[in-house]
């Protein structure tokens, strides 16, 4: 590890560039490697990349400044990011971060002057069931305690390399607490894929001899793909990322697209705070996910899949690359899969700390090596997606489910669930409950059932589907979670009887303010206005007048924002005003509008400059 001052472009940067074939589309991947090597993007690197990749310098710098895990200033030899989800906060992450800063003698968010260490906050790292969590040099630390913080401070000061830190600090558990039919056991690798291919007819022995393309092979693939698509339709599978679009329709659109070079993208950006199912799937069911992508490749006629993973899961890199390698060796990926005419391979792309990249069009931009800014909705990715080619974008869980559907059949899958939400769903339960972890239920499960199983029935409220989902109180615990009633990405954050829901609302509004990409005004300005209103109430300066303004801002954001982030960012506030009005009214010290800042304090500087203390040198907060 070098500090920022000793960068030799030729020696350090060129090998990274060469590894990525000087492809401008790999800009983000190259920057991530540079960041990991230098803990910053050295100024020399920006110029060199612009030159070698033939990109304008502003493009390179624009990408560096967009992603929160890339930085232009040196972040220290040891970079510690505390996860700042509400579940981490309820488990005391703020106190732990402050304690660590105090021990290390470093200011939060700043690099220590000797360049040894920096301590920062980041959005949820997907370890909500085993928090408080943090990342150290992009590797997860779980179950932090004051003792561990002491130990970590000593390790940092003692310049102990990360490899020698206690393994237990880095332990990530899958914690699958309940499994239903779909995820009871991982499928045997290859079973689902073979089933999909055999729907096209027998795989002939003689094909293995001569791998040259032939009409017979082509027809075999065509037929198989068409039959598997029928199974996906029969399963009535809907996207697991939250929007619930019918997977069959999406796949068919790409299958029938006129353009070739189609792509299959798997969205493992999983940035919704409180969500960690993709992490578990990629850990224990990676084969199923890759198999689902390969089956999709078979159905839509694509040769290339890309898995886009958030960098918080960097520790899974060797594992994932290993699974891909094994599948290639086993003939389940690559050319002539299972001796048929199917060619398909998968590549992994990494994110760099941007919630918005979970939004499909932003993710596509990010994979293209650009800033992750959502583009306009039309043309849809199925017509013009990655590199303007027809593209399927599905969630990790959707692909895993598709693999199971191929193996077991659509009717089998559709047996579970409700009228409009077939099958089962993974739910990430965290917060104030005895058994946080992953639970698989048929769609239609009530919140109360989940709370009972997880041991959190005394909850005063719960956030269903993450901050962009729905905040519910006990009177709604009997509602069913499914697309027709209470839709969800599969997240349940439980707020126990002693919690203050206002803290959750504050956490979520700060989260959206930080994660807004800044493209459209309603979202960029709106998220900041809302976060400021929340702070105003926190200081006791809020009044009913402000709540009216909040509703107005929320309405503008909901109706005028460019993408889902802005459209949903006001929900925690509007939900809580409706369902937990007390958290707002108990903070109102006045019924009249008052300023959001200390008015008399605003005169302090002038008082000290003039030495005045007379009555006219002061202001009351409320009109006298």
């Amino acid at each position: 590890m070098q500090s920022a001052s000793v960068v030799h472009p030729e020696e350090h940067l060129l090998p990274i560039l060469q590894r990525h074939g000087s492809d401008p589309g790999k800009l983000l991947q190259i920057l991530i490697e540079i960041q990991h090597a230098f803990h910053c993007i050295p100024p020399e690197a920006e110029g060199l990349l612009a030159e070698k990749l033939r990109l304008p310098l502003v493009r390179v710098r624009g990408v560096v400044e967009f992603y929160s895990f890339l930085s232009r200033s040196f972040q220290g030899e040891v970079v510690i990011h505390f996860s700042d989800n509400i579940t981490d906060q309820m488990a005391g992450n703020r106190q732990l971060a402050e304690a660590l800063c105090a021990k290390l003698g470093v200011k939060l968010g700043e690099t220590r002057t000797d360049g040894r260490v920096s301590v920062r906050f980041t959005s949820c790292t997907g370890m909500c069931d085993q928090g408080p969590a943090a990342l150290v040099n992009y590797l997860p630390l779980t179950r932090l305690t004051p003792d561990r913080i002491d130990a970590i401070a000593a390790l940092v000061e003692g310049k102990v390399p990360l490899e020698a830190w206690p393994r237990a600090f880095f332990q990530v558990d899958s914690q699958i607490r309940r499994s239903d039919v779909v995820f009871r056991n991982p499928l045997e690798p290859g079973v689902a894929l073979r089933a999909s291919l055999e729907r096209g007819g027998e795989i002939l022995e003689e094909w293995a001899e001569d791998m040259a393309p032939s009409d017979a092979r082509r027809h075999h693939l065509e037929r198989g793909g068409a039959e598997t698509l029928k199974e996906i339709y029969a399963a009535e599978l809907r996207g697991r990322g939250g929007a619930g679009f019918k997977t069959g329709i999406k796949w068919e659109s790409v299958r029938h697209a006129k353009m070739g070079n189609r792509y299959v993208l798997c969205n493992a950006d999983e940035g919704e705070p409180g969500t960690f199912k993709d992490r578990v799937l990629l850990t224990d069911y990676a084969d199923m996910v890759f198999e689902g992508m390969t089956i999709c490749g078979h159905v839509v006629g694509s040769k290339k899949g890309i898995l886009y993973v958030r960098q918080e899961y960097w520790y899974l890199r060797d594992h994932l690359e290993g699974v891909l390698r094994w599948r290639r060796e086993a003939g389940l990926l690559g050319e002539g899969i299972l001796k048929t005419g199917l060619d398909f391979d998968i590549e992994i792309h990494w994110g760099a700390g941007a919630y918005i990249c979970g939004m499909e069009s932003a993710m596509i931009k990010s994979i293209e090596g650009r800033r992750g800014i959502p583009r306009r909705r039309w043309p849809l990715p199925v017509h013009q997606g990655y590199l303007k080619r027809p593209t399927v974008v599905n969630n990790v869980e959707t692909f895993a489910a598709a693999a199971v559907i191929s193996a077991r059949g659509g009717a089998w899958f559709a047996f579970n669930g409700t009228q409009q939400s077939s099958g089962t769903k993974l739910f990430c339960v965290s917060g104030d409950c005895e058994r946080p972890g992953l639970y698989e239920y048929p769609w239609g499960v009530t919140i109360r059932e989940m709370l009972r199983d997880a041991g959190g029935l005394d909850a005063k409220g719960a956030q269903v589907g993450g901050p962009s989902g729905t905040l519910v109180g006990p009177e709604e615990f009997d509602r069913r979670v499914c697309f027709e009633e209470l839709s969800s990405t599969g997240t349940l954050m439980v707020f126990g009887p002693h919690q203050d829901i206002f803290e959750a609302v504050k956490n979520f509004s700060a989260f959206f303010q930080h994660e807004s990409c800044g493209l459209c005004t309603p979202c960029r300005v709106g998220t900041t206005l809302l976060a400021n209103y929340v702070k105003k109430f926190e200081k006791g300066y809020g009044s009913p007048v402000d709540l009216e303004e909040v509703q107005l801002v929320a309405k503008v954001m909901k109706t005028m924002s460019h993408c889902g982030l802005g459209q949903t960012a006001s929900l925690p506030i509007t939900d809580s005003v409706r369902k937990f009005p007390d958290i707002w009214t108990e903070r109102m010290q006045t019924m009249e509008f008052v300023p959001a800042f200390d008015l008399d304090g605003a005169l302090e500087e002038a008082r000290s400059l003039t030495g005045r203390t007379d009555a006219a040198a002061h202001l009351t907060h409320l009109e006298a």
Partner: protein, 180 residues
């Protein structure tokens, strides 16, 4: 004849440009005076609002303690309070000092400025103390309507007033808030 609508106006940290624009409605002023009666306003030089009024028009942001008092007087006396022009709505030109500390600003004017003699920061109690930042009106009191422009054109002001007088929502049509 129905009782005339009572209107008060003032300029806080502004340049009076918005008031000039009000005068720019020209002969329509006579028409306006048929239906409104001015209370406190630079037009008649009344120093305080004498009675509760229907409409208050304020240009300029809030830069000192006196501005705060004036704004509060308007808020308590006006049924409808309108922020007129860029400075009232965002702080405008005066708020460019917000990127410096107050000390830096005063030092520049009274200590290090060219030609300054007897350098000291004025501390006479008659002079209102400056706030550390210039604020838009809605940071201090509740504002009911915003009339944008720098200044809002005479037509925009006329449209706004006549719509309000007619009891309609005074949202300006697009052509009156286009500036390019």
């Amino acid at each position: 004849m129905a009782e005339k609508l009572k209107v008060a106006t003032c300029s806080l940290a502004g340049c009076f440009g918005c008031h000039m624009s009000l005068l720019d409605i020209d002969e329509r002023l006579l028409e306006l005076l048929e239906v409104v009666q001015f209370d406190r306003s630079p037009i008649n030089d009344l120093k305080h609002i004498s009675q509760p009024v229907d409409l208050g028009l304020i240009e300029g942001g809030v830069c000192n303690a006196e501005n705060v008092h004036t704004l509060r007087e308007f808020r308590s006396m006006c049924k409808i309070l309108v922020a007129v022009g860029e400075c009232g709505i965002t702080g405008g030109i005066p708020s460019m000092r917000n990127s410096f500390t107050l000390k830096e600003c005063l030092d520049e004017s009274y200590i290090r400025g060219m030609g300054v003699e007897f350098a000291h920061i004025p501390d006479d109690p008659e002079i209102p103390l400056l706030l550390n930042r210039v604020r838009p009106l809605h940071h201090i009191v509740k504002i009911d309507h915003f009339l944008p422009g720098c200044p809002p054109s005479a037509d925009a002001i006329w449209y706004f007033l006549t719509e309000l007088l007619a009891g309609r929502d005074p949202s300006l049509p697009r052509e009156l808030i286009r500036y390019d």
